[in-house]
Amino acid sequence: MAAGIVTWGSYLPHWRLRHAAIAQVLGSGPTKGSRAVASFDEDTTTLAVEAGRRALAPGGPAVQDLLFSTPAPGYLDKTNATTIHAALGLGRTCAAYDFVGSPRSSMGTLLSALGAAAQRTTLSVLSDLRFGLAGGAEERDAGDGAVAFVTGPDGAVAEVIGRASASDEFLDRWRVPGQADSHVWEERFGEEQYVPLAREAFDDALKAADLTEGDVHHVIVSGLHVRAVKSVAGRLGVAKEAMAPDLGSTIGNLGGAQAGIALADVLDRALPGQVILVLSLADGVDALVLRTTDALPGAQGASRGIGVPTVSEQVASGHRDVSYANFLAWRGQLLREPPRRPDPERPGAPIVHRSEGWKYAFVASTCTECGFRHMPPTRVCLSCRSIDQMRPERLADVAGTVATFTIDHLAYSMSPPVIGVIVDFDGGGRYRCELTDADASEVAIGDRVGMTFRRVYSAQGVHNYFWKARPLDGSSAEAGE
């Protein structure tokens, strides 16, 4: 029984922004490539929930610590990890911590969890939603997504066999709290700092693992400093086929989640007994050496079995393109006229807390007398009128079918029109909710849908999180039963 990474899961949002779409509007810039775009109703917390759901295999070990890391937290002062904890339905005794700020804290989060793996079962979720000003490289080359790892004492698919870090203080990339976009110093300055730091960490890590360059099967070099990453990768002296594919041209650079997504991608397809080396360039360099175990194929198969998509499937599958105008509107850079309707109200803290199971974990009440499912949960059964004969039942991972739908041009939304669907869940229960990640012209009665955790809106500085339906297709049918 080995300690290390036990399971993993990745989430790339549905939407892609083509570089050509930017160039067409702004009149200049590259026309090849694309990036992953979080929808208007996603933030780093919801991205993390989706990744976390994919990492938490049914019947897996109970998570003791939830660690959430992002450079773009939904809240400061208020812990975001508790939202993720609630949405994942983790136990009350599970701790929940934020590690927010710089991308380096994401790698630090995973390294800390791995360091404690022999004693604690930890879910680490690394999430990022990158913001850049219109026409800039950050807007074009960044991407949004999240990745989650369960680490623990038993059943590891990959064990740590070495790690090393090299730290230094220099100004490469920075963002002042309150500002949305980050700034970078002249590129060549950062490159000259990163290259030697990377070499040191790489060599130290190999030494710690008692390996040489030639023993490594998969090398991941990641960082927001693209020029430094390229430069480092070219000088490591490892075989070209060992270099993990660069996903940047299709999904963009995921910042705090980039190294993790690349690691998940490798774990999706690695063989047992292989060595993986992760080199993360972020205000210093962290190197992590892992060796996969014989448990890996079983875990890969189990994920496939319940329909969890791999990173490469999410990269390749037929996602929809978002128009540049919608992208700008989603990021608050294009102010669309709101409908002449009252602004949404912030939800009330006590009522939200009372309905925590429903709102965050999508827990219905099922009548123990007659089996009728109630969404939202109620105490009196609609079907047999029994009172207080309910058991809670989480339906977040149960798929459903669209019974009927409507396109609402009047309701408030950051991205109108709202698609309203009546969903009949497999095994019983009906709920009326919004359909997201969908095109209004393509919805039909009978469509299969799953549930996804979203930020419905923000009002008076309070984020309103809840579940929406989204279309299920072959590639993202993880909610199918």
């Binding site: 409908p339 002449r340 309707r341 009252p342 949404p344 109200e345 912030r346 939800p347 009330g348 009522i351 939200v352 009372r354 309905s355 429903w358 709102k359 109630h374 969404m375 939202p376 609609l382 019974a403 009927t404 739908f405 409507t406 396109i407 609402d408 041009h409 009047l410 309701a411 408030y412 709202v418 309203g420 009546i422 009949d424 019983g428 229960g429 009906r430 709920y431 009326r432 909710c433 919004e434 009665i445 419905v456 309103n464 999180y465 809840f466």
Partner: protein
């Protein structure tokens, strides 16, 4: 349902109804003053002769002072009631019961809504603080589930159903065009209705009722006193109100082609009034056409047409002003808009005019006559599968239906 009813125990002896519309120069107080004064005057009374008041409003005020302040009532009982879009009918129902109980000799039911001061499009509900999980669909969206479900269930082609819905709007605007109290007093062509931009689902702008201000009021007394105030009173035959368990949004068995609340309240009202064949026995009906698809479904829920056939009856003109059973001869919510507290009493006002032969000749219906003296008002609140429904029946003759005259 053991609803006994109060058939023929109370009578309407006076009514008032303001113009409905975007009344920028009138406030809630003005509307209340005008409707109350007109109603009292028509019964030959002063406002101060009336013993008790029921005020229906959803958003334009809370508590009885909303009425007692503008009317300067002298320490009379005033009850403010709210029951969503059926608020006006709820005021009427409670005033009727108060008089029937013997507690008061006369009562006023008055409804008002001043919607056009908010600056918003459509209705804006009043909701308690929530947990943020309500999907927040608009009213048109909630009702737009009806059309495709109806079309699917009865095999009606989508384009054909759009024609049916347009025909309902066309009819109601035709009726409203002759009504000086309506918000919209213009006929609208089928082309304009059909081609209007979509608001939600298949519902275009002309499938939705307007948003307006207005007020209406009725004076009620015991039947034995009615002729002291009025030569030709309107007797209350039935009042039925139900609130459903809001099953639709959570019950996979609900198919969005009916309002169970309406079916139940209609059956109750027909039983109270002794009606067995509403389509033949009623001379007219004022129904809650908040959306054209609603009126279509109501024709079946109120038993004016067999299940799955109302769409054909609409096209055949059965419910036109000169049809077999005129529905919304005043123009309905379609032409009047829907000032929530006022609508139910505005419907009653049309019965008051038509059944007593006081509608202007150019819009007097011809179905009223010997053996056919009853009118129905139907008021709906909420949304398909989760709402409240009121059905009232009123007539110019005591007894009737050959049962216990």
């Amino acid at each position: 349902m053991s609803s006994k009813g109060i058939r023929d125990q109370v009578a309407i002896i006076g009514m008032g109804c303001t113009r409905f519309g975007e009344l920028w120069d009138k406030g809630t107080d003005d509307l209340l003053t005008e409707a109350a004064t007109e109603a009292a005057t028509s019964a030959g009374l002063s406002i101060h002769d009336i013993d008790a008041f029921w005020l229906g409003t959803m958003t334009s005020g809370v508590c009885g002072v909303t009425l007692s302040r503008p009317l300067k009532l002298d320490y009379k009982p005033v009850t403010r009631v709210e029951n969503y879009c059926a608020t006006g009918s709820e005021a009427l129902r409670n005033a009727c019961y108060a008089v029937a109980s013997g507690a008061y000799d006369t009562a006023m039911a008055i409804g008002v809504e001043k919607l056009k001061d908010t600056g918003f499009s459509g209705l804006t509900g009043i909701r308690p603080v929530g947990d943020g999980t309500d999907p927040g669909l608009s009213s048109p969206a909630a009702f737009s589930f009806l059309a495709p479900s109806y079309a699917h269930k009865y095999g009606v082609d989508g384009a054909q159903l759009k024609e049916v819905m347009s025909r309902i709007a066309f009819k109601n605007h035709q009726n409203g065009a002759r009504n000086p109290r309506a918000q919209f007093q213009k006929e609208v062509s089928m082309e304009t209705i059909r081609g209007a931009p979509l608001v939600a689902g298949e519902l275009g702008v002309f499938d939705c009722s307007g948003v307006s201000d207005g007020s209406a009021a009725a004076i009620i007394c015991r039947t034995e006193d009615a002729h002291r105030y009025c030569e030709n009173p309107l007797y209350v035959k039935a009042l039925s109100f139900v609130a459903g368990p809001a099953a639709g949004p959570i019950d996979p068995g609900y198919d969005y082609t009916t309002f169970e609340e309406v079916v139940r309240s209609a059956a109750d009202a027909y039983a109270q009034a002794g009606i067995t064949d509403p389509r033949a026995q009623l001379a007219m009906a004022e129904v809650h056409d908040c959306f054209t698809a609603t009126e279509l479904v109501l024709m079946e829920d109120l038993d004016f047409a067999e299940r799955g056939t109302a769409w054909k009856e609409v096209l055949a003109g059965t419910f036109d002003r000169d049809g077999e059973l005129p529905v919304n001869p005043d123009g309905g919510l379609k032409s009047f808009g829907h000032p929530i507290g006022a609508s139910g009493l505005r419907m009653l006002f049309e019965c008051w005019l038509q059944l007593r032969g006081e509608a202007p000749p150019d819009r007097q219906i011809t179905t009223v006559g010997p053996g056919r003296t009853l009118g129905l008002t139907h008021n709906l609140g909420g949304a398909p599968g989760e709402g409240v429904s009121f059905v009232g029946i009123f007539g110019t003759e005591l007894g009737g239906m050959g049962l216990d005259a």
